[in-house]
């Protein structure tokens, strides 16, 4: 296995192309704006509970939605061309003239781009931490660190997805079409798709809420961005049950009613297949399985 050589070359190339630094700068800017908004009073802070000071958890809640949108975009832009780009420029022939298997290429690319996205996200979080330390917010270090790591995992999931599509697609244009479709599916369509599916089942079958509610939640956590969000909520609240029930959606009073209904249907406890480890496994699935599926297509194709 020579994937380490492929990965190292890929990282070297990303550093020389300023991809790494550009990505880190954009994400840093994004993450540094949050504290400024909070301090500037543009965001209404939640009231301190039990007399405790307001912590950086407020910041995490604020950034959660922003990052679920921008981190996938950054990862896609970084990785969708990882293999098709080499195909288009002819460097893939140079690469495969050396003793690398096609699996080495896919694994090396996933690791290389994964390393770049990880580094960029961690740099941005360090910048954010420094900025946050300058605010009156109490720094909740464990939650902040957990948030950073889960964001890295989200980035890796979309790098995996993009590398997988890049391996399978014949051209960069097709790879971009595929990854952008997946992004739109996850950010705009998945939620409606999940509720539509449940509504259809509710109207046309005898299935009760006891079956439909966990099914709905399970379909939702298959979406990597929702999996990420619910894990972060679980981290902040320390309450996986609350985190899963919150996936029911809706805001304000409607949200509260939904949560209540879902909590009752679940019978007060999180089933195994909706537990935090399983949700984490879904993210791992996107990181590992999609590139391997892409490799499988790549392996069968002529260059």
């Amino acid at each position: 296995m020579t994937w380490i050589a492929v990965a190292r070359k890929d990282v070297r190339d990303a550093i020389r192309s300023y991809w790494l630094w550009g990505l880190a700068a954009v994400l840093s800017l994004l993450l540094a704006i949050g504290p400024l908004l909070i301090v500037g009073g543009f965001i209404q802070m939640s009231q301190p509970q039990n007399g405790n000071a307001v912590t950086t958890d407020v910041y995490v809640q604020l950034m959660l939605g922003v990052l679920s949108f921008f981190v996938p975009i950054a990862a896609i832009i970084l990785a969708y061309e990882s293999i098709t780009g080499e195909r288009d420029s002819g460097t893939l022939k140079l690469l495969l003239s050396l003793p690398h298997s096609r699996l080495d290429v896919v694994v090396g690319k996933a690791l290389g781009r994964g390393a770049v996205v990880t580094t960029a996200i961690l740099i941005a979080f360090i910048v954010a931490a420094v900025t946050l330390l300058a605010t009156p917010l109490e720094f909740a270090a464990a939650n902040f660190l957990g948030f950073a790591l889960l964001t890295v995992v989200l980035g890796l999931a979309f790098v995996g997805l993009s590398v997988g599509f890049s391996a399978a697609a014949g051209t960069s244009r097709r790879a971009m079409l595929g990854t952008v479709t997946m992004f739109v599916l996850f950010t705009l369509i998945w939620s409606s798709f999940a509720s539509g599916l449940i509504r259809l089942l509710r109207e046309n079958t005898d299935l009760t809420s006891e079956t439909l509610v966990p099914l709905h939640l399970f379909v939702k956590i298959l979406n990597p961005t929702e999996a990420y969000q619910t894990l972060v909520v679980s981290l902040l609240s320390g309450d996986p049950f609350f985190a899963r029930v919150s996936l029911s959606g809706g805001s304000g009073l409607q949200g509260a009613i939904n949560r209540q209904a879902y909590a009752e249907a679940l019978g007060g406890s999180v089933p195994f297949y909706l537990s935090d480890p399983v949700v984490a496994l879904v993210l791992v699935f996107w990181i590992v399985v999609v590139p391997l599926a892409g490799y499988w297509v790549f392996e069968e194709s002529d260059l």
Partner: protein, 313 residues
């Protein structure tokens, strides 16, 4: 052991057959020139050796390994200069060599190889700024990493000036002397003639001829051209030459008599001229150029029956 063994390989792209039932054997230690016009299927054949494309039918074995199943094992022992490749435009020449060294898990000195392929002084430039010829040298350098047992070079002279092409041939000879088998393709015969032990000529996906350079020449049976410089031209003498066995044409240009004849008739031509009282000042023979022979093999699309007979004789 044979270095390359292709048995009945066919590659079709939809309705187009790029390579058709090809048999090819390259022995260990030889320099094999793989010739043919553009589009004859040379690159497709090389792509099958490297598992870049998969044959529709047939078996391909390189260095004793199946090209389809054990491609990495093949590429661990083969140095490859692919066709129509690109370089990593942001990485320097040295970084390319370092990558090849790292990939082949050897400890060659990148600078020494860069010097050998004529890129000394250019190591730290981005390969994106290299000319076509320099990129070709760079890829050749990458192929040389790790003292490969087999060199597979697809159109190695592409983009090289005559000097560069000669340097490339020198490297091919050096590598062969070291013990490497060399398989290289070209659409220009002049590039392979000097260095090849054997050549194979590919046309429309099939091997139409395979032999040593001398053997090919004999197989085609082309004649020599004799240029004789005389003091004065005499019609009787010319007539005597014309009637000789094996003489096909006689032409006069000033004091130079040009005679097209079989190799064996050359001495009789000189003898006949002198017998008729014409004094010969000088003469030289010119063998049929291999280029003509190559053209004979590859440009007979409109005259297939004639081509078949010629190859068979």
């Amino acid at each position: 052991m044979t270095a390359i063994e292709v048995r009945g390989a066919t590659k079709r792209y939809g309705d187009v057959t790029a390579v058709s039932d090809l048999d090819l054997t390259v022995e260990e230690g030889e320099v094999y020139g793989f010739l043919g016009p553009n589009g004859a299927g040379k690159s497709t054949t090389i792509d099958m050796l490297l598992d870049f494309v998969r044959p529709t039918a047939g078996e391909v074995t390189v260095l004793g390994h199946s090209a389809r199943e054990e491609s990495v094992a093949i590429r661990e022992r083969a140095g490859v200069l692919p066709e129509a490749f690109g370089v990593y435009s942001r990485l320097t020449g040295r970084q390319h060599l370092e990558f090849a060294v790292e990939s082949k898990e050897v400890d060659d000195d990148p600078d020494a190889i860069l010097e050998r392929v004529g890129l000394a002084g250019e190591e730290d430039r981005r390969a994106g700024d290299y000319s076509k010829g320099m990129r070709q040298r760079l890829a050749l350098g990458m192929a040389l990493v790790g003292e490969p047992d087999l060199l597979i070079l697809d159109e190695p002279s592409t983009g090289l000036d005559p000097n560069g092409a000669r340097e490339m041939r020198t490297i091919v000879s050096e590598e062969n002397e070291r013990g490497a088998t060399v398989f290289f393709s070209s659409h220009i015969l002049g590039q392979v003639e000097a260095v090849c032990d054997r050549v194979g000529i590919l046309r429309e996906g099939s091997l139409v001829a395979e032999d040593s350079v001398e053997g090919l020449r004999e197989a085609v049976g082309t004649e020599s051209t004799l240029h004789v410089t005389v003091e004065s031209v005499d019609e009787d003498a010319l007539e005597a030459v014309r009637t000789l066995d094996g003489v096909s044409r006689v032409r006069v240009d000033g004091t130079t008599v040009t005679v097209g004849c079989d190799d064996s008739a050359k001495t009789r031509v000189i003898g006949a001229l002198e017998e008729e009282g014409t004094s010969v000042v000088d003469f030289e023979t010119q063998e049929a150029s291999l280029e003509e022979l190559f053209v004979a093999y590859t440009e007979e699309v409109d005259d297939e029956a004639g081509g078949g007979e010629e190859a068979a004789s």
